[in-house]
């Protein structure tokens, strides 16, 4: 054979291969691009019940009536992952919150700014705050309010669950949104008199006829539901409702309360579709009008919550979702400190042999927040945009007014609010509420100044934009 045709043949084969390779690379690249752009979610859940005998919010745990859980979701896209997490604990604060965010961020391969961890605020749940524990320990009160070893182990376990979940993420094609009014659960805690001052505090439980008779007051009646779908398969549902989740508490009988019970039942009814529930801005909202604190009320309140969750689910409308529909916005800020936080005064309370354990505990909480703020630690306000839904994350025991205002800022979108993120500052009232009196804005309960409202509203506007 002559060499020329052979060379030609070889040359042609070579060209064919080159072309094939280029096409294949292009195809792979496009496919990968598409893969990267595909929104995926991974859910995780684990038990968060305390050990019997270890401290929960107001007593040592003596029984586990309804187990507590940690539930969350990692949202994967072509951006850094976002982690949303809800914990059946009283509150997570200061270095406790820092540890949670850093651990989950590391596990998900993202930054702590893209992690939002919320407590549901059950009053027979745990407290998590390593800063207050350090302060208490330095005044000889270590281990009285926190089981640090357990808390650290649980955070590490949650991080492990996140890491594991990410490997099993599933594509999301649609997003569902629905809402329903919850009947006879929430009522405003602050009943104002003719003089505009708080004349009556309607706690989580009430047997006072005047408190029961008073109107519900300002609440957000809507329970909102966001669901994640892979075509026809529901991957997870997130619900949001603003109310203090207390029926009765304080003896160490651990329970996830009516909100957790309702959530668990819904999950069962949905044949195991993961259900993550968040508490909204219910700092000044509780069940007091509808709850006398008797044991029978807990299942009743749970039933009403469950009903709201069911209806919201049934009202849901599914819309297709693209990765470009996702956007995470976060603002770091410092809230002005309450003027009553004076280091020397707080230390004197901690050092005294005549102050009570309760006074010392509050002094430690105040001191922790004061020191952290002075050291420049900031809190975050964040929002995840998914199509026409904004999932807003707020700190503290924040008033319902903030949640309602957030919805009004974007009337054409669905704004869902999860509060009880950073818990270190306690309650956050509106500016005028600080002048009206009552418990929530008292020196005991709130560690921020009235001027916080303007800063927070501005931050909410910024992250919803």
């Amino acid at each position: 054979m002559k060499p020329l045709p052979n060379n030609l043949y070889r040359s042609l084969a070579c060209r064919w291969w080159t072309t094939a390779c280029v096409l294949l690379t292009f195809f792979c690249f496009s496919a990968c691009q598409e893969q990267a752009a595909q929104l995926r979610v991974a859910t995780f859940a684990l038990d968060a019940s305390p050990q019997i005998g270890s401290p929960v919010a107001y007593a040592p745990a003596r029984s586990i009536v309804d187990s507590l859980s940690i539930r969350g979701m990692v949202i994967l896209s072509d951006e850094e992952p976002v982690v949303l997490c809800a914990v059946d604990w009283l509150g997570i604060a200061n270095e406790g919150m820092q540890r949670w965010k850093e651990s989950l961020a590391e596990a998900a391969g993202t930054s702590p700014e893209r992690v939002s961890v919320h407590a549901l605020h059950q009053h027979d749940g745990l407290r998590c705050d390593f800063t207050v524990e350090k302060i208490l320990a330095s005044y000889g009160l270590a281990g009285t309010k926190y089981d640090t070893t357990y808390l650290l182990a649980k955070i590490a376990e949650a991080a492990g669950a996140v890491k594991q979940a990410v490997t099993q993420a599933q594509p999301v094609t649609h997003l569902g949104f629905g809402q329903a009014e919850v009947q006879q659960v929430a009522s405003n805690r602050r009943i104002l008199g003719a003089d505009g001052k708080v004349k009556l505090i309607r706690w989580s439980k009430s047997t006072d006829p005047e408190a029961i008779a008073a109107p519900e007051g300002l609440i957000d009646p809507w329970l909102k539901s966001v669901s994640f779908w892979n075509d026809d398969k529901a991957l997870a549902v997130m619900t949001y409702y603003a109310v203090h989740p207390q029926s009765y508490y304080g003896q160490g009988d651990v329970t996830c309360e009516f909100v957790g019970i309702a959530r668990n039942r819904r999950e069962q009814a949905m044949e195991g579709v993961p259900h993550i529930h968040f508490n909204g801005a219910g700092g000044n909202v509780a069940a007091g009008k509808y709850n006398d604190g008797s044991p029978e009320r807990r299942p009743l309140l749970a039933q009403r919550m469950e009903e709201g969750m069911r209806k919201a689910w049934e009202n849901s409308i599914k819309r297709p979702l693209q990765a470009e529909d996702l956007q995470w916005k976060s603002v770091a800020l410092k809230l002005p400190l309450g003027k009553h936080l004076v280091e020397t005064d707080l230390r004197a309370i901690l050092a005294s042999d005549t102050t009570t354990a309760d006074q010392k505990f509050y002094a430690a909480k105040h001191l922790a927040w004061l020191l952290r703020t002075e050291q420049g630690h900031q809190i975050s306000i964040s929002a995840l945009k998914l199509d026409n839904i904004r999932m807003l994350n707020l700190p503290g025991e924040i008033f319902i007014e903030y949640q309602l205002a957030a919805q009004q800022m974007l009337p054409d979108a669905h704004v869902v609010t999860a509060a009880y993120e950073e818990y270190g500052m306690g309650y956050i009232g509106t500016e005028k509420a600080y002048a009206e009196g009552g418990y929530e804005t008292s020196k005991r309960a709130s560690r921020v100044a009235p001027e916080s409202e303007k800063i927070l509203m501005e931050a909410i506007r910024e992250v919803l934009r």
Binding site: N94, E95, F130, T131, K134, I135, A137, S138, Y139, G140, L141, A142, R347, L350, A351, S352, D353, A368, L371, R372, Q375
Partner: protein, 459 residues
């Protein structure tokens, strides 16, 4: 060529200059004085002794190591086979050193070994000893004599200054047992001991120009309570010093007590055991001395401050009356005295000026604190300033036990009842630990002591 040499020679001289600058190094001097009482005196440390000392197992010593750095900065470490130098005596000695030798409080470190076979000193723990007037007088005479001896000792140590090299390093020895968390009576049944502990054996080695060991200052955090009999003795630290001075002829061995308030040498109560622990400790020191030690640059810095530690109020008058009417004991004597003082409307102290001291020899930090300091303080300081730090308790004043806030809360001997032993009107207030740690950290910051981890909460 000549021009080039003119440039190079000064450079060579500059490079070699530090090697010849030997006179810019450390200077150190030592002195020792026998302080075994020559007359009949009661022994300190135990409330159940019922008579004065009856003999001598080995002599009691006070020793001084005087230091001077390259720039002429001075300091002196005084160690003594004593239970503790109380405030009055310490202040008198330090005032005189200030006046006569211009040594400030920061420059003088008075540490006692805490042997329980030394003499009772004036104004210390009087409630626990059933002393009569003659007994008190003997104590007063001895204390006055001791004051003279210690001032002279320091003067002699500075007179002995010569060029030296100084080294520091930590060794290890494990005969201390945390006495709060392990029961001595059933210790033989335990297969694991509970902490906290600090097994470090801090060692300072001083070599003279001929590389002969001139001084060994070493410490350990453990009560010298092996012996409880009626013979003068330095207990295990006494045996350790004897062993080291025998091993290194011509050297002066100085023992300083660490934060050993809650550490006991267990088992105990025999001379053989005291010797065993002493020789164990000496062996630990010898090991450190025979290995490479960190040479300390001839830079000495010292800092001192007193922080006011709060004292809680005594129990109610009713409780005091009940205690005062009980059978004779130190608790009974304490209650009776507090009652008497409050009835006489004599104001009870509400704070106590607590001495804190930080030295830096080269880059070696040395933390000294007054009182019977529990081991957790050493652990915390080492966490902040690194494991190579030296921590001394029983320094400059021994006024009480110094519990952590947790031990204070737990109570027991170190947290509560020892306050009566020391004659204080009430327990320490709960901010004791915060104030001490904060005070030490501030002093350390002033001297630029390097921190290896974030100091205090919150991080």
């Amino acid at each position: 060529m000549k021009t080039r040499l003119l440039f190079i020679l000064p450079l060579v001289w500059l490079c070699l200059q530090p090697l010849f600058a030997q006179d810019g190094g450390w200077k150190a001097g030592v002195a020792s004085v026998k302080i075994t009482p020559q007359q009949s005196v009661w022994m300190a440390g135990y409330a159940n002794r019922d008579r004065p000392a009856e003999g001598t197992l080995h002599e009691l010593w006070a020793k001084a190591l005087a230091l001077e750095d390259a720039s002429g900065q001075r300091a002196v470490l005084v160690t003594a086979d004593l239970l503790g130098i109380p405030q009055g005596l310490s202040n008198r000695i330090r005032d005189r050193l200030q006046e006569e030798m211009q040594l400030s409080r920061a420059q003088v470190l008075l540490n006692s070994s805490h042997t329980h076979c030394g003499p009772v000193l004036e104004d210390a723990l009087y409630d626990i000893y059933p002393l009569d007037d003659a007994g008190r007088l003997a104590v007063a005479h001895y204390s006055a004599e001791l004051e003279e001896q210690l001032v002279t000792l320091v003067r002699q140590a500075f007179a002995d200054l010569e060029e030296v090299q100084i080294f520091a390093e930590n060794g290890v020895s494990r005969f201390q047992v945390n006495r709060r968390n392990n029961d001595a009576a059933t210790l033989h049944l335990q297969t694991a001991l509970k902490g906290p502990n600090d097994y470090a054996v801090p060692v300072i080695k001083v070599l003279d120009k001929t590389d002969r060991v001139k001084a060994i200052a070493f410490g350990y955090a453990c009560h010298p309570t092996v012996l409880s009999f009626y013979q003068w003795s330095g207990d295990y630290p006494g045996f350790a010093q004897l062993a080291l001075e025998k091993k290194y002829p011509g050297a002066t061995a100085l023992f300083f007590q660490g934060a050993g308030a809650d550490q006991n040498p267990l088992p105990r109560r025999t001379v053989a055991l005291a010797r065993q622990y002493g020789e164990t400790l000496a062996a630990a020191v010898e090991r450190v001395m025979s290995e490479e030690m960190k040479a300390l640059a001839p830079e000495l810095q010292t800092a001192y401050q007193e922080v006011d530690l709060g004292l809680n109020s005594p129990p109610s008058t009713a409780v005091l009356r009940e205690m005062a009417s009980a059978d004779a004991s130190y608790q009974q004597r304490w209650a009776a005295r507090i009652l008497q003082e409050s009835e006489a409307e004599k104001p009870l102290p509400t704070t106590y000026p607590y001495p804190l001291q930080v030295w830096k020899l080269g880059d070696q930090p040395i933390f000294s604190m007054g009182g019977e300091v529990v081991v957790e303080y050493a652990i915390r300081l080492k966490r902040i300033f690194g494991p190579e730090a030296f921590v001394l308790g029983y320094s400059n004043d021994v006024m009480a036990y110094i519990p952590t806030a947790t031990i204070l809360q737990e109570g027991g001997y170190e947290g509560a009842s020892a306050q009566m032993v020391y004659g204080l009107p009430g327990t320490w207030s709960a901010d004791i630990e915060v104030k001490i740690m904060d005070g030490v950290c501030k002093l350390a910051e002033r001297l630029g002591v390097r921190q290896v981890s974030a100091p205090l909460w919150p991080e």
